[in-house]
Symmetry: D2
Subunit: 342 residues, 4 copies
């Protein structure tokens, strides 16, 4: 089987290429870039030196193939979706274009009407652990955003257990690769190194995915994001205000029940030691989402701590995992890297 | 006038020493350390090389002086407070011992009864901008904790304006110097570098200061702290849920009204550019607290962003500022450093 | 086939465990730690969470096996080498104990006589690319030090080409994991972060390996090391003073000739772009050594730039590569990770 | 007295502005930027928020003043030097334009003839500690480059003591601010963070200053520079090959003799402890150059370790120090900041 990456010069494209080049059941045969057409892909992705002689082609040169990964900036997938459907029967879109199920929510968060509102229902949106069954037969998959994935995986077991949530605050700490490959003064190393930058205190688009996923009222979800002096990583601290009399042993049961069959979810909650809670440092290059939790005895707030690598479980890794499910492969194929320590 | 530092080998002691050695109206003549008695203080504080020949003395060698700064670990100030009162008529305690006004709150957050509950009311607790008047005549001052200072300065104008707050979530991002000078495996560079470490999801003691300061019910204040791969800095994202119909122009008025005479408070809120919100990167070594804000149009949440240097405005700098007020000096004496960029 | 790791709680032990757990032809069945006997190895190696249920055993509990990896601190391999030879017919020592071929050189650099000088000749020392043939039949292999590996791989083609070297200066920039897992004030994050620390201006023991490898006179090799605020990585800048009339195109030929069959050596020398020379950033977790070069037209100095991951090609990766050679496996088995970007 | 900064929007301009705004004897009244004309300087220099209301003016609007600081990119000072001489009788040029004394050396390192070769002899080049006397009466001062300053201060005492040097290797580790304010893909945070980047293995222009200063033959000076994941700082490791029988106690005498009256030079050489050698971490924002040394008993090489902040002692700080000398002020005026720890 063969795959193509449309929009392959960015960071997500580079990670997709790395994963596909090492995948035992799929071959990467086409990858596009308008600005780098004709150049070796190692020019953009130097970690693939010695691994491939593949060159970027122009999007108009793409030939029909089995699977198409769309890794373009916002707005381009939906613009040309008809073309892509002709090129491949299976499409996995990593952009934000088809993540929401409702046009009104899209318009509220993206500031304009969706150009193909009729297709929103055709795409299976998702986080693999939550939408695994729908993905098995899906032709069109829209991969969840990195912060949305961290949030949804942290919340899903509680929703599944029927927790009556009043509202949540998601305070996400993210790396700079989330902003993509385009440089500007704000990403210039002397400016950005050492920075703790509140870049989206309100209105983050990924919060719409959380609202949509769980059927929340928009007023229930408060989301803020702060960019750190790290390249990769999301640590979402999820503060949950709910009517409950749960204890931590109940949370253990709830989380184990939801994720006992999921190889990429690990519950990290130690009483002692140096790694008591999830830390994205340990997850670079991996497809894990580590989850921890704690109940505040004074406010009765539940705190969920969710960590992942935004380019992996938050983007390329999750897309490959979705493809594995879609194709009936073992879910972990090509995603076995355990990460590094220290 | 002369000052002594009790417990001078830690990071706060080092910053106090730096500030006092350069202060135009006060001389640092004594500084103690049990483990380093007899050694030059530059052994512990290498940034003072060439600035001083002062040596550490044993706490029992301290002679009476004008002002005593107590910079010891938790529990030691209160244990020996009677001794210190005989050594200096003016005391500024940087530890947590006398920060709360009520013994019951202390016991709730510190897990044991306060050893000198009768003294809690004698100390003027505080953040200088909020308690300036009380500090002018105070003999005993208890300097606020770093996270409490960031939180209180962010909330004070809204409380002063009469906002009816339902509850708040303070999500603090902090540097590793907050943990002090004692090493352990968790602070070993290969472990800590690159880490985004949730170290206190619930139960942080600084939240008690916020509760106490504003007369909140403990259930109103949710506090979580995450340690970053930075040495200095606090960025507190304060999510406020309140009954209000404020707009951002109202917030401008409210914050300007509270702080128009305060040289160390800057409102940072730009519509464009690369430094639109407060960033502790710019505040290293300074006594500033930078404040920004935004109203979430969907949840009506007010987000306050508060940044400072935990060793300066969050510790040594604020103590010197308090001393300046106490002594009738200009508030900014010895605290003029503007910080570095980039 | 089965392997055991003696001294498995350190960083090198953790990487060996990671590589062996994923290796298709070898099983990791025993791993020792005196201080952690009986505990799950994920306590020391959190990146292996979910990958293994293996527990540390005491060194005295080790049972005979096929291959023994010795990953202990300096001095312990040689002390008990007879015991280890009884436990496994194939031994790969990652410590410094058997790296030198001559007792006098050992004494000069380690400050004491070697306890088993008679064994020095029995071990095949080495960097795999240079000693590949000797390793095929070797029972005892002593893996080269990280800085020595970077230096030797940079120099080997020139020596092979018969360059008449007068003397060299190796200026190595290294990460903090090279110092191992034991914390002290100097590795405490607030002290170490941001530091550019000259930790061994002269007398570094790895320079003895370079002297020994190429038969240099000790006076020909000047070595200095500086530790950076990075966890992993060695960048060795090798300044070579020699009698030559080489041009850069000659260097291309020389390096390609030496390494055309070596999958882990890449020549990185671009005229344009952002990755013109080797950078250890791209090599984290990989077994590559990237090499670049340049001739100084004014001084006729040859500058070699050599980059690797000190825990991988400089330690655990190289040991696995040596084992692959020793066992007749494909050299790259278990070492396929391409690294991450960005 | 009044000063103007020509080319004030870059990092050096920002530091000059910071220092001049706090200087007790000089006022900053004009600062230029073509691209930011009319904007507040805090737009480019956010650390000056609340310190100044000054706005950038266009270079053509500059009015005559007492002192002119030229902080433009290479080539612009010399192009318009006649204009600047009419605007101020005292000029301190921080660019590279007038650093060399000989046109032929300039052409060798800059690749083109100098446009005003006749002026090269009129400028007093320098590092203040070395050229202090010449600077007292100078109208035209050309401030040394950052790497050149680190190298010259490390070598000067040995030259003064008559050491017979055969050749030297300067291996400089530098921060990213040395590259200035213009962003490109190579300085984009995700690319640059974690990088150890060899950016100039040969041919660095600052080496010409060292050659010129000491009358070296160009073949005697080998210079390589590596950029680290730090914003500020130069650590120059200087390997000296010379005919000598010096011991370290002799070096102590030699360095003390040269610098006993120089407040910004500190010898850092401890036998124990955590700060045994100079580390630029401690020098951020200060005007110090810290120097350490060691003799290699095997190669007889002398290793000098020289550390400074490239924007301060390597640029703006040194320029202010030169001005203080030029004007007969105390050398340390406005440069008293001791740096931060941790």
């Amino acid at each position: 089987m063969k795959a193509a990456i449309i929009g392959g010069s960015g960071y997500t494209g580079g990670e997709l290429a790395r994963l596909l080049l090492d995948h035992p059941k799929i071959g990467l045969t086409q990858i596009t870039s308008r600005s780098l057409t004709g150049k070796y892909i190692v020019n953009a992705h130097p970690h693939l030196r010695g691994k491939t002689k593949l060159k970027f082609i122009h999007p108009q040169q793409v030939e029909p193939t089995d699977i198409l990964f769309l890794a373009m900036p916002h707005g381009l997938s939906s613009k040309n979706i008809e073309t892509y459907r002709e090129l491949g029967s299976k499409i996995i879109d990593l952009s934000a274009d088809f993540r929401l199920s409702r046009g009104d929510l899209y318009e509220q968060f993206y500031g304009e009407p969706h150009p193909h509102e009729e297709l929103l229902q055709e795409f299976v949106y998702g986080v693999v652990e939550v939408q695994k069954d729908e993905m098995r037969d899906a032709d069109l998959i829209s991969s969840a955003g990195c912060n949305a994935t961290a949030s949804i995986l942290g919340l899903h077991p509680l929703i599944e257990a029927g927790l009556d949530i009043d509202h949540i605050v998601v305070d996400a700490k993210v790396g700079t690769s989330e902003g993509g490959k385009d440089e500007n003064l704000g990403t210039h190393h002397p400016e950005r190194s050492g920075s703790i930058r509140s870049y989206q205190p309100t209105g983050h688009r990924h919060s719409a995915e959380v609202i949509d996923q769980f059927g929340f009222d928009p007023g229930q979800v408060s989301f803020s994001a702060t960019a750190l002096d790290q390249i990769r990583g999301v640590l979402a601290t999820i503060h949950i205000f709910a009517d409950h009399d749960l204890e931590e042993k109940d949370l253990w049961k709830i989380y184990r029940k939801s994720y006992h069959d999921d190889p990429f979810i690990r519950i990290v909650k130690e009483r002692t030691g140096h790694f008591r809670y999830p830390d994205p440092k340990l997850l670079r290059g991996t497809n894990y989402c580590d989850l921890g939790f704690e109940i505040d005895p004074i406010t009765n707030r539940i705190v969920i701590i969710s960590a992942l690598d935004n380019l992996m479980k938050g983007a390329a890794g999750q897309a490959i995992q979705a493809m594995n499910i879609q194709q009936g492969f073992d879910e972990t194929l090509g995603l076995e890297f355990s990460g590094l320590h220290p």
